[in-house]
């Protein structure tokens, strides 16, 4: 008996050791087992596809998980159509919300297991992925079927490194101020044309017991986005951060300090709701959407959601350009937000098919977006009469603002490296809860920048 037990024991241990050995050779990243790289099964299909008998799965990581979002419907529509046309190809959707996706991709990138198609952000946020050589260049692909010409002039530059296009954007937005017309009427105020007037409007709204501006500052980029627009004005034009990177300016430049002072005057006037740093992006936006706040500074991507909200009924919401600060700056220069973009893994097992699919996807994107009433702020040109298609007055206003854009700046974290960006975000967030001296804020930025150079 003992002998048998011993044998059994040894065999069992061997089996277990073998089965567990797999985890030792794996990577150190967190337990991410949901996405495996595209796998091929060699079973033949019996539906007689002429191109190939090989069954192919393409993993498509995306940030459209919300089934009420028009983009989600659009995604499914295009994918379903493609799968119908190509029975041997399965598109596996990995839909995550933005933050989850960012985290997941970083984890996957660390172990070189990038999904066939994934989402990246423009410029500086893309740089580390490019440096690690993870994406396939799309230069040839965008020439096919005239895809390149559907994109707006210059937009692809934000996704181009060393002459290669590495990603195709789903959007191209600008920052605007949305305002609630009935609340403005109630307080007897008009749309401000200068920043000083805006601070005044804030005070008058506040006196009537109305929350002047909503913001979701727990997410910290929201406040930074607004601050950068002030800086775009006090600097008299775009390019402040670029000048810093090029060594022509420092954060202790008067333009930066002036922006901090102006920004603080807005906060000190009581512009934002109470407890502002505990509101996340959605909670902040909801204040405006439910008519509890009079103004909302955000990228034009928010248009669709506001349109269909309680506050947006009966054309009650209007938009205006961010005004001049101390007479400086040009309101036609906007905070630009080239959208998140689709990139293709260089190590994809089915590179050709993946590129083919993405080409098809992007070609159909504008039309489907237009039909789903989601075409405000997309990166491609859309042929179609928006008014006749039933887009609201506010959407038309935003579309008209697009025509007046004369350049501008990108968000801080799209221009600076992640380390500096995090320091900046927390420094600006602090202004919402504590009054600080502009030169201290400038110094904080400069130190962080030099440390992370």
């Amino acid at each position: 008996m003992t002998k048998r037990t011993r044998m059994l024991g040894a065999v069992m241990a061997g089996v277990l050791a073998l089965s567990l050995a797999a985890c030792g050779s794996g990577s150190s990243n967190g337990g991410d087992t949901t996405t495996t790289p595209a796998d091929t099964t060699t079973t033949t299909t019996d539906n007689g596809n002429s191109n190939s008998n090989e069954k192919i799965t393409i993993t498509f990581q995306n940030i459209y998980p919300d089934t009420t979002d028009p983009k989600n419907k659009m995604l499914h529509k295009i994918v379903d159509q493609y799968q119908k046309d190509h029975p041997n190809i399965t598109i596996e959707l990995d839909s995550l919300n933005t933050d989850q996706q960012k985290l997941k991709l970083k984890t996957q990138a660390a172990s070189k297991e990038v999904p066939d198609i994934t989402i990246v952000n423009p410029a500086a946020q893309m740089q580390p992925f490019i440096d690690a050589d993870l994406f396939a260049p799309l230069n040839e692909m965008i020439e096919q079927n005239g895809l390149k010409d559907t994109f707006q002039q210059g937009i692809l530059d934000y996704y181009t490194f060393n002459g290669n296009v590495y990603a195709l954007p789903d959007g191209n937005n600008i920052a605007v101020v949305y305002y609630n017309k009935s609340l403005f009427e109630k307080a007897g105020v008009k749309v401000p044309t200068t920043f000083e007037e805006m601070v005044d409007v804030v005070k008058q709204l506040k006196a009537k017991g109305i929350t002047p501006m909503a913001i979701g500052e727990k997410d910290s980029w929201t406040g930074s986005f607004l601050f950068m627009n002030v800086l775009l004005r006090t600097n008299g034009g775009p390019g402040f951060l670029k000048d810093v990177v090029d060594g022509k300016k420092t954060f202790e430049d008067p333009a930066f300090k002036e922006a901090v002072d102006a920004f603080e005057s807005l906060i000190q006037a009581g512009a934002f709701q109470d407890g502002v740093t505990s509101f996340d992006y959605n909670a902040g936006e909801n204040l405006f959407k439910t008519g509890k706040a009079a103004m909302y500074f955000m990228g034009s991507w928010a248009t669709g959601g506001i349109e269909t909200s309680e506050a947006g009924k009966d054309n009650n919401v209007g938009v205006f350009k961010f005004p001049t600060v101390k007479g400086k700056g040009n309101p036609d220069e906007f905070m630009l937000a080239p959208g998140s973009a689709f990139a293709v893994s260089k190590d994809s097992k089915h590179l050709k098919e993946t590129l083919d699919f993405l080409n098809y996807f992007m070609l159909n994107y504008p039309k489907e977006a237009f039909d789903a009433k989601g075409a405000v702020g997309i990166a491609q040109t859309v042929d179609g009469d928006f008014k006749a298609a039933g887009y609201s007055d506010m959407a038309m206003d935003v579309l008209n603002l697009f025509k007046e854009v004369k350049g501008g700046d990108l968000a801080f974290d799209n221009t600076m490296n992640p380390g500096t960006a995090q320091a900046h975000l927390s420094s600006i967030q602090n202004l919402f809860v504590a009054k600080k001296d502009a030169s201290d804020v400038a110094k904080e930025h400069q130190t962080a920048y030099e440390e992370n150079k």
Partner: protein, 321 residues
């Protein structure tokens, strides 16, 4: 037979009695190899899931690495920076210990007190203990959102502030989660509230395991009520109490989710603890190597703290046995 005592000895301390007991338990007289074979699966799991990742972290902690691209070995530079040139690190560490302190010195004793009261006065205690335990099984996200609404400013319908207004204590009102000085305490309170039931359960079970005949004997000798608690319950609960303290300490060091949900470490790092700082560094600032250094530091603090707590309790244990 040392069984009565042995049962209560937690697995953290290997004492000779246990070894002898283990030998005595080997009644089947199976060889050491067989025992090894049966221990192996668990051991391998432990090595793969705990030990190797720790080693990898220690190694990554010595890299200048953004988590994606090429890495550079820089020795202990990350640690030097962490200890001497990181304005967030020390305050975050302080807040972590603040949380641990509150947890060990306030939460666990309260839990013990409640457990004693329940076991003495409540005839069918299970329902009560289960209700105290309820917050533990709720998702942290739900708890965080719940308390966020409770803490909201009065203008947003926050319960605490409205009660304060109702009581005429307007001056006590705070924007609980957004005032840098108050926010960390607001978060700590929620954490204490959530895990109180957990420690009540542990200690209640411990009290239940004390043989009733000891109390009966004491009764004959004239020790009843709190006197019996002082001389019987407290000494006999020490091993269980220790488990509670160790768990609460390590739990506090690792606390992360609640803070992420409620404040995200803000405003401006005012509620950052060591693990949220580690997360920010690794994934938002993309300093994966530096984040790993913080993680390694956390592992060693946990180990050290467990050793210290063990040492203190061994002395306490000796005094009472």
């Amino acid at each position: 037979m040392a069984y009565g005592r042995g049962r209560h000895t937690p697995p953290f301390v290997v004492d000779e009695r246990d070894v002898k007991e283990a030998e005595a338990l080997n009644v089947l007289k199976v060889s050491g190899w067989v025992i090894a074979a049966f221990v192996l699966p668990c051991l391998l799991l432990y090595v793969c899931l705990v030990f190797i990742p720790i080693l990898v972290s220690i190694y990554s902690g010595m890299l200048d690495w953004n988590g994606i691209g090429a890495s550079k070995f820089i020795g202990f530079a990350n640690y030097t920076k962490m200890f001497t040139n990181d304005s967030v690190f020390w305050p975050a560490l302080g807040r972590t210990f603040l949380l641990a302190g509150f947890s060990m010195l306030v939460q666990v004793p309260i839990a013990l007190f409640v457990a004693i009261l329940i076991s003495r006065y409540v005839r069918r205690p299970n329902f009560l203990v289960s209700s105290y335990f309820l917050p533990v099984i709720l998702s942290v996200v739900i708890i965080g959102q719940l308390w966020k609404t409770i803490y909201n400013p009065a203008s947003m319908g926050g319960m605490i502030n409205q009660i304060l207004i109702g009581l005429g204590l307007d001056s006590w009102m705070h924007s609980w989660l957004t005032e840098p000085k108050v926010a960390i305490f607001a978060v700590i309170l929620v954490s204490l509230w959530q895990y109180l039931g957990y420690h009540i359960l542990i200690q209640f079970t411990g009290i239940q395991n004390i043989p009733a005949d000891i109390y009966e004997a004491a009764k004959i000798d004239g020790a009843e009520g709190f006197k019996a608690d002082r001389y019987i319950t407290l000494p006999m609960i020490v091993p269980i109490f220790k488990i509670s303290v160790v768990l609460s300490f390590i739990g506090s060091l690792q606390s992360f989710d609640l803070i992420m949900v409620m404040t995200g470490g803000g405003p401006a790092h005012a509620t950052d603890v060591i693990s949220s700082h580690m997360y920010n560094m690794s994934f938002l600032s993309m300093k994966y190597g530096y984040g790993s250094a913080i993680a390694t530091f956390l592992v060693f603090v946990c180990l050290l703290a467990t050793l210290i707590i063990n040492f203190l309790f061994t002395r306490l244990d000796k005094r009472y046995s």
